[in-house]
Amino acid sequence: MQNLRYLDGVSTLKLSQKLCVGCGLCIEVCPHGVFVLDEHKAHIQDLDGCMECGACVNNCPTSAISVTPGVG
């Protein structure tokens, strides 16, 4: 999807590294490759690729991720 990008700086995706246990599930479910795993922690590598679908939020075991489309 490198040739199709939507607006930058709008995604409400947030990741709390403190809560992350590095299970990698968010990486598995994200259809836009937004996360990478580094030293047993997930990192957001491409915030602007996020379409706020909530798949990662729905599957993170420790509620380390949030998206809040429509708020603010």
Binding site: M1, N3, L4, R5, Y6, L7, D8, V10, S11, T12, L25, E28, V29, C30, P31, H32, G33, G49, C50, M51, E52, C53, G54, A55, C56, N58, N59, P61, P69, G70
Partner: protein, 401 residues
């Protein structure tokens, strides 16, 4: 003759119950006094196993080729080849005709000769999703668990909450899946992850969710790869073909407002020095309708198809670009306008505003636009589109004087 006919069912049963019967012309001879349609009896005999599943008031689905007996009851075995009817219906649905009713019954289905160790693939009960999946499963043995998503595809249903943790758990339990397979594993398409929480499914019914590839065509490779995805399978695409098949439905969505706009425009076109002229309404209105159609085509087809190549990120802006090019070309080459330069200007702006509006609508159909982004885009562009409309209408009326 009547006597012969009443004998027939018995004769046929006899024939089919002996396994090694041969259907020569000899055995059909009992029907010699019947019209010459022996061939149809032959095909009746072939269908016999399915006929035993007939039930008054029900009709067998054309995608079912047999039934499989399991501890949880009989499970329909489905074809991996689409019939001509399936393909015809696919085209109709893609064109937005009868889209709301194209569904299959939720529940468990089988492909090939599935057994107690075969994988279970989960999908939605939108018939296109179901067809899409089954035609990719040629030559393998799997179960398919169809969730009730009210006839909506996996991706949209997951967003709407019908392709969900609770529906999956409910369907696993109501079909008695644990009686059918020995393992405790279901494969859910990755795009279903928005609605399905693997952890909650396991907590509630003990089945482990494995997220499979996004596209059905990667399914066989995924299974052969011992349920491991290659990186490409995880990434969503939105190719030219994928965009193109969405356009007929966009046109259909637009059709209703086009009709209203056309009526309004014809009416406005009639306003002139003699207050209202029917002749002028028709003469000017005609050209106006052509420009409406141009704008709609630009917004619902040209912009979606050319999406990656049009400048700007906002769809509404892309729609302005493609709309401008199309409208300007049309106005340049065709002597459409009554009302001189003012009229041309009006029609140009009108067409561009329409194009921008419908292009913006396409943000709802893509797999990469975030709701926050769409909101931002709409806040900015709806006023712009409204102003363009207003200016064009004022110019259009003014051009009659």
């Amino acid at each position: 003759m009547t006597a012969l006919m009443s004998q027939m069912p018995e004769q046929l049963e006899e024939l089919s119950s002996s396994t090694d019967f041969t259907l020569s012309t000899k055995s059909v001879k009992i029907l010699s006094s019947m019209p010459d349609n022996g061939g149809s009896y032959y095909s009746n005999l072939k269908l016999q196993p399915l006929e035993t599943h007939e039930k008054a008031g029900y009709q067998l689905c054309s995608h079912v080729e047999d039934f499989i007996f399991t501890k949880a009851g009989t499970v329909p075995k489905i074809k991996t080849q689409l019939s001509r009817d399936d393909i015809f219906s696919t085209i109709m649905v893609r064109c937005g005709i009868g889209r709301n009713n194209y569904r299959v019954a939720p529940g468990l289905y089988g492909v090939g000769e599935p057994g107690r160790t075969s994988e279970v693939l989960v999908t939605a009960n939108f018939k296109l999703s179901f067809d899409h999946l089954r035609q990719e499963l040629k030559g393998i043995n799997v179960w398919i668990l169809v969730l009730d998503t009210r006839g909506v595809n996996v991706w949209c249903a997951a967003g709407k909450g019908t392709f969900s943790t609770s529906e999956l758990v409910h369907r696993i339990e109501s079909t008695g899946l644990n009686l059918v397979v020995d393992h405790k594993r279901v494969i859910v398409p990755q795009l279903g992850a928005t609605g399905v929480s693997a952890r909650l499914v396991q907590e509630r019914c003990g089945f482990r969710v494995v997220f499979g590839p996004i596209r059905s065509r990667d399914m066989v490779e995924f299974l052969q790869n011992r349920r491991r995805v290659t990186p490409g399978m995880r990434q969503i695409t939105f190719t030219l073909a994928e965009r193109f098949v969405l356009t007929p439905v966009e046109i259909r969505i637009a059709a209703k407002s086009v009709f209203i706009m056309a009526l309004a425009l014809v009416f406005i076109s009639g306003i002139g020095p003699q207050i209202f002229s029917l002749e002028q309404a028709w003469n000017k209105g005609r050209t106006g309708i052509v420009m409406i159609l141009t704008g709609v085509l630009s917004g619902t087809v040209v912009t979606p198809v050319l999406l990656p190549w049009l400048p700007f990120r906002q769809f509404a802006a892309k729609g302005i670009v493609s709309g401008s090019v199309l409208a300007a070309t049309l106005l340049f080459f065709l002597p459409l306008t009554q009302g001189g330069i003012k009229g041309s200007m009006a029609l140009f702006l009108f067409s561009v505003a329409i194009s921008s509006y419908f292009a913006m609508g396409f943000t709802g159909a893509t797999p990469f636009t975030s709701p926050s982004g769409v909101e931002k885009e709409m806040k900015r562009f709806i006023p712009i589109q409204a102003i363009l409309m207003l200016i064009s209408m004022v110019l259009w009326i003014y051009s009659s004087f």
